[in-house]
Amino acid sequence: MFRKSFLEMRTRWLIFIFLFCVVLTVFLAMRPFAGEMMAQFEMSSEELEKMPEFFRQMLGETSQMQRLKDDDQYYLMSQWYAKNFGQFLPFFALIMAFPVFSREVEKKTIYFLLARMKRSRVFGLKALPGLLTTLVTVAFFALLAPFLMILLGYDVRYTGEVFLILFQQLIGAAFFYTLFLFFSVCFNDQIKPVIIGIIISIGLPFFSLVSGNDNWPGLGWLNPYPYIQGSSLIQNGAFDGIYTLALALTGVLVLALGYVVFKKKEF
């Protein structure tokens, strides 16, 4: 059954493996040029003062740009975990989770399983292979990037921060997987879970934008992107334990809710 589940997800998984490989190649290939590119943005504080606030925020602090130029470890953390790899994780989880149940219902293959097995067993056999594949893939690519950088002679190490950010990315990917799996359980076609998943993936950063508003300062907490991208770990080395617990618990609750909906659902 695990084999069947893996065969089912093979094509979309391979597409993302290819995508991650391309992104990883670009990430590695860009390292020698990162310094030169950053140098072009280097400007005096007077020049920076004259720029609009929007551009200044986009460029970041000059100290960070300098660090990006000189520090291989910082390049790995900020450009791989926070940007190139991290930002894809919710979409990867979406692609892995959305058809798990909705495709079976849409194609009417679910009857074969439901007639012959208890719903609890069907749920486990359907939900777990996708979750495991998602987590193993995330762990593999999260660890592959530093490995390849070391091979290429860069000054990179498997520090505690690397493993903490990997842990955060696993928690984040699992959370998104359970969330999108829930929508896969709820709908009888594949279109609706995808659309809702895309809206959520694109819409969550909106909370961070709104949180800049004085009226809604706490809303940024609802956006898990900074957590998945390891922002606080990269900026000040702080592991966010409370957020980890909250996201993990929410994931478990959403998974349990998906299970209850699946148990009660009519086919």
Binding site: M1, R3, K4, L7, E8, R10, K107, K108, T109, Y111, F112, L113, L114, A115, R116, M117, K118, R119, L125, K264, E266, F267
Partner: protein, 284 residues
């Protein structure tokens, strides 16, 4: 004879609201082929879905003397849409079934695949409708189940394959097992069923043995103005411009009409019985 499926006061209301099944009571005995007949929307499929626990319902259903969930390993089901995982080959499908179904017989499945001339290494997505149905049936026949539930199992099969499938169900599968069967092809049902239940508007309006239908029921064609009968003597009455058709099992009426020179009597086959039952009950 012990009962493999027992249904008491089954009711199912879909949102709308639409009452699909009303107070259905049904027993299916060990070792019998029980056919569930009815026009579209009569409640056959909803009854099957209730037995299999696919829908929420009110009432009591027991399968193999227990609730359905503890008996799933002993049940085989062929739905109306015989969709199997299209990325698999028949070989992969057999391996999958072997891994999840405790009493699945791999060798038997391979025999059926060969018997139905299905290519073992071709993806199911490249199969015709008939081939997909044949594969689904091959996998189901090899399951070693105690209860087989078939919903329109021969739809889309050519006549030779259909004949083959009916022979398997009637002669091979039924040994030690029980079959619940629905079909709109009455001649098929007549060939394989021991007992028949007819559903109409969510009710079971008739349950009986096929042999009893031929033995106990009679159809009379009478002049259209014939009125020497009471409605409680008839099961169905059908009037058209030229004649009056009566279905009855009332022995007095059968004797009286049998002596009437104006009456023409027929022993009903299942097709005629079913049609009269459905179309003629409104006049009873």
């Amino acid at each position: 004879m012990s009962e493999v499926v027992k249904i008491k006061k089954l009711n199912k209301v879909y949102p709308g609201p639409l009452q699909a099944v009303r107070d259905v009571n049904l027993q299916i005995g060990q070792g019998e082929v029980h056919a569930l007949l009815g026009p579209n929307g009569a409640g056959n499929t909803t009854t099957i879905k209730s037995i299999l626990g696919f829908v929420q319902y009110s009432g009591e259903i027991s399968v193999l003397n227990s609730d359905i969930d503890s008996r799933r390993g002993r049940i085989a089901f062929v739905p109306e849409e015989k969709s199997f995982y299209e990325f698999l080959t028949p070989s992969g499908a057999i391996t999958l079934c072997e891994s999840i179904l405790p009493s699945f017989d791999r060798k038997l499945a391979l025999d059926y695949v060969k018997r139905f001339s299905l290519p073992l290494k071709k993806k199911i997505r490249d199969f015709s409708h008939g081939m997909k149905t044949s594969l689904y049936l091959s996998l189901t026949f090899s399951q070693g189940a105690d209860l087989y539930i078939f919903d329109e199992p021969t739809w889309g099969l050519d006549p030779i394959r259909r004949d083959d499938v009916l022979n398997i169900i009637r002669n091979t599968l039924i040994e030690g097992s029980t079959v619940l069967y629905t079909s709109h092809i009455i001649s098929e049902v007549e060939r394989i069923a021991d007992r028949v239940s007819i559903m109409m508007d969510g009710h079971v309006v008739f349950t009986g043995y096929l042999d009893d239908i031929k033995e106990k029921y009679r159809i009379f064609y009478l002049p259209v103005d014939f009125s020497h009968y009471s409605t409680d003597q008839t099961e169905a009455v059908l009037k058209d411009r030229e004649k009056l058709t009566i279905l009855t099992k009332d022995t007095d009426l059968i004797d009286n009409l049998g002596d009437d020179p104006g009456a023409e009597m027929t022993i009903p086959d299942l097709e005629l019985f079913f049609q009269l039952f459905l179309r003629g009950r409104q006049y009873v």
